[in-house]
């Protein structure tokens, strides 16, 4: 048992934290999210150059690490509210490829992800599927050796910046069957792909993505046809661990900002941080943060365990982080008072990001139910 980071991991943290501190201050971010592009491709190139986009991959795939490295990077992203698509491109698409891709796919696409030349978005959600990863109306019909995709993917984060999509689609079975789900790589420039782009409330960009008779070859399938769900679930658990880390970074900063503000802000002739009711609230925020860090470690370190253990850990973490993030976010605004309501202060933006993290890859209710369903497999002996 060991909670220490290796020297190499500490170097990753130092590198990314310096980059975000020096080049991603709040005013810069404000400019970036208001810009036409909505992100910083030049920073992405810099991350690639520093090797950060290779961090979660094995040496065989051209990288040097795994889930712990992704956790470290996303925690730092969370501290700076960086909007760049590390989770969609590196964790999700990269994850699908590293676990399910054949050697040609890995070489081409993981190489592209690591170099930053290819940017992926993960088109898994649908307007009517809610958080059920198997509930798919998007279809991919076999046509000779090829597939023809039709459907509508919802709120695809980072899609406006993407060169490629990883798309989940039904190749057989009924709309919610666990079997019959397959995973495809689709070039954004392919004929029949269209997007409607927009900003999200937490400063990112996303698209509704439409596939109309998009033809792809057999080389576009990742993993086994009709048996893509286990891989999607695995990658979504990896994304959850990374998202939890991002939430921890955001919670830490929101909490620190709030404590600092309570030192400065005076009412009734005294800093409001002297009021016990606010002190205890801020202690509760601190405890929520610490418990969230613990759960993030657990989810990350159990990604390689057996399926049930992995899923339970990811769901448990997502529940705890959803609840902790909500509490820390809401109380940060409350303790900042009217100033917390203003767009001018950073704290509101941390609150908004924490709020949106809850619904990504399933919210508290979804994961509490998933955890409970998974627990039902262990039936205890009834007491007498």
């Amino acid at each position: 048992m060991d909670f220490d980071f290796t020297d190499e991991q500490n170097m990753v943290r130092d590198g990314i934290s310096r980059l975000i501190r020096e080049q991603y201050d709040f005013d810069t971010r404000r400019g970036v999210i208001a810009s036409e592009a909505g992100w910083r491709p030049e920073l992405w190139a810099q991350l690639a150059e520093l090797g950060m986009l290779a961090a979660p991959f094995s040496e065989e795939d051209g990288g040097f690490g795994g889930a712990t490295e992704a956790m470290i990077i996303m925690e730092e992203f969370g501290k700076g509210l960086a909007v760049e698509p590390f989770i969609p491109s590196v964790v999700c698409a990269g994850g699908v490829l590293k676990h399910g891709g054949n050697s040609a796919q890995r070489e081409e696409y993981i190489g592209g992800i690591i170099s930053g030349e290819m940017v992926f978005a993960f088109a898994y959600a649908e307007p009517r599927g809610r958080y059920d990863l198997a509930n798919l109306e998007t279809t991919a019909k076999a046509d000779g050796g090829d597939y023809v995709l039709n459907g509508h993917k919802a709120v695809v984060i980072g899609a406006p910046w993407a060169t490629h999509f990883v798309v989940t689609a039904r190749t057989s079975g009924g709309q919610t069957d666990k079997d019959g789900v397959s995973i495809f790589i689709v070039d954004k420039a392919a004929q029949g792909v269209s997007t409607r782009d927009y900003a999200t409330v937490d400063g990112r960009r996303a698209s509704e993505v439409y596939f109309e008779n998009v033809a792809v070859g057999p080389e576009a399938v990742i993993g086994e046809v009709d048996n893509g769900l286990p891989l999607i679930e695995l990658v979504s658990d990896e994304a959850i661990a990374a998202l939890c880390a991002e939430a921890c970074g955001a919670m830490k900063v929101a909490h620190e900002m709030t404590v600092e503000y309570s030192r400065q802000r005076k009412q009734f002739g005294t800093p409001i941080g002297k009021f016990q009711v606010l002190q205890h609230r801020m202690v509760d925020m601190f405890m929520e943060y610490e418990q969230s860090v613990s759960m993030t470690y657990m989810a990350t370190l159990k990604l390689g365990d057996d399926e049930v253990t992995r899923k339970k850990a990811a769901s448990a973490a997502k529940v705890r982080i959803g609840q902790g993030g909500r509490f820390v976010g809401q109380q940060s605004i409350q303790i900042h008072g009217g100033m917390g309501m203003t767009d001018e202060l950073a704290v509101g933006h941390y609150f908004k990001r924490l709020t949106m993290i809850d619904s990504e890859f399933g919210n508290v209710d979804h994961h509490l139910k998933r955890y409970t369903d998974l627990s039902a497999a262990d039936v205890p002996v009834a007491a007498e």
């Binding site: 048992m1 941080g273 405890m287 418990q291 470690y297 955890y371 627990s375 002996v381 009834a382």
Partner: protein
């Protein structure tokens, strides 16, 4: 980073598991409602561990400790929780013992440490007073020097299991004129058989007799029973509070408690199905388990810090707050689970030797008293509000 125990740690777990399996006395009850167990039952395991040399694992080797790492001590706690053993009480082992070997003189060590290790001497803690709870430093019990003795007068309260105690450690005011209340307090060991001590039971809301008032009237104690220096008692008291907090979160016991709760929920029926299959109730258990997982990892992180040489810090306040909240929630859900049969008071059951018509399931008998009793956990050992004050000061710096 990894969550795995090392091979040595796994071997250690197997060793202690086997020892517990082979040596834990089968004829003693499990500790639920304290006053149902007699002194000998409460000491039985302590005495066995004393002979084995495992009764005071956290002590330095020279005083009889085991040299176990913090992780090994954690494993030891887990394995004991698995078997629901009645562990040595903390008053000697975790509280006064470390104060004696750290601040006591050689005579005091020689006189007291062996009895604490063996379990032959029962200790109680004379800290709280009717007017000094969270504000402990305002205590009023006096110790006045008279020749070679101190004369103690005052009243202590909430003294846990003092009805069995052979010795007590008391905080007394020796300098009423000290510039700060903390500066006039001394730490004194008292033989509970000394004339002038009266132990009066306090009945608690669970119906049990767990705590007492201790009245001190002209109690004459040899001055050699003073620990360290006169008027420095507050320092020793604070040391004691910060010492050996591993296990404070009660994670292992709560895990065992969740298992029991699930067994009960599997036996109770709702709409023709086990209560455990009811999504509403099952999700309450899930939430508890999730909160407990978070606490467990937080405790392991603290432990890893301790292993790396960082002393237990204010994180132990977090462990105390979250640990007790979970313990309370667990007993709350257990009471919910047993339904109607939470109501009958087991202390009033007819003693007619008949088992033909049992009053409700056995597992329901202690549900309500235990729930009532566990409300104490967020009050004792520095209330959870005081713990939040500590975090405010030590971590938030406000």
């Amino acid at each position: 980073m990894n969550l795995e125990f090392t091979e040595e740690e796994k071997a250690f777990r197997a060793e202690v598991r086997e020892f517990i399996e082979n040596n834990y006395p089968q004829d003693i009850g499990t500790r639920g409602v304290d006053d149902e167990m007699g002194r000998e039952d409460l000491l039985a395991w302590h005495k066995i561990l004393g002979k084995k040399g495992w009764s005071v694992p956290a002590w330095p080797k020279e005083y009889g400790g085991t040299d176990w790492t913090p992780t090994q001590r954690y494993i030891w706690g887990e394995e004991n929780a698995r078997k629901n053993t009645v562990m040595p009480l903390p008053f000697g082992v975790s509280m006064v013992g470390p104060v004696i070997y750290t601040f006591g003189n050689e005579e005091q060590k020689a006189q007291h440490l062996p009895g604490i290790r063996s379990g032959d001497v029962w200790w109680c803690q004379g800290y709280s007073e009717p007017g000094a709870g969270s504000d402990l430093a305002s205590l009023k019990t006096t110790a006045v020097r008279d020749g070679d003795d101190y004369i103690l007068n005052g009243q202590k309260t909430w003294t846990t299991l003092a009805q069995h105690a052979d010795w007590g450690f008391f905080l007394c005011r020796t300098d009423p004129d000290a510039p700060k209340p903390q500066m006039g307090i001394s730490f004194i060991l008292v033989d509970m058989k000394t004339p002038g001590i009266e132990v009066r039971p306090i009945k608690l809301i669970d119906g049990g007799h767990e705590v007492n008032e201790v009245w001190l009237t002209d109690v004459r104690v040899p001055a050699t029973n003073l620990i360290g220096e006169e008027n420095k008692g507050w320092t020793y008291a604070k040391f004691l509070l910060a010492h050996e907090r591993s296990g404070i979160a009660g994670v292992a016991r709560s895990k065992r408690g969740v298992e029991q709760l699930k067994e009960i929920a599997a036996a109770e029926m709702l709409d023709g199905k086990p209560l455990l299959e009811d999504m509403g109730f099952a999700q309450k258990i899930s939430q508890l388990e999730i909160d407990l997982s978070a606490l467990e990892i937080t405790e392991l992180r603290t432990l890893a810090g301790e292993q790396a040489g960082k002393g237990p810090g204010p994180e132990s306040s977090l462990l105390k707050v979250k640990g007790t909240e979970i313990q309370q929630r667990l007993t709350e859900l257990t009471l919910e689970a047993v339904g109607y049969y939470g109501a009958p008071d087991f202390r009033s059951f007819p003693d007619d030797g008949s088992n033909d018509f049992p009053i409700g399931p056995d597992y329901a008998h202690h549900a309500a008293p235990t729930y009532f009793n566990m409300r104490k956990t967020s009050i004792y050992g520095g209330s959870n509000e005081i713990q939040r004050n500590i975090i405010t000061k030590m971590i938030l710096g406000l």
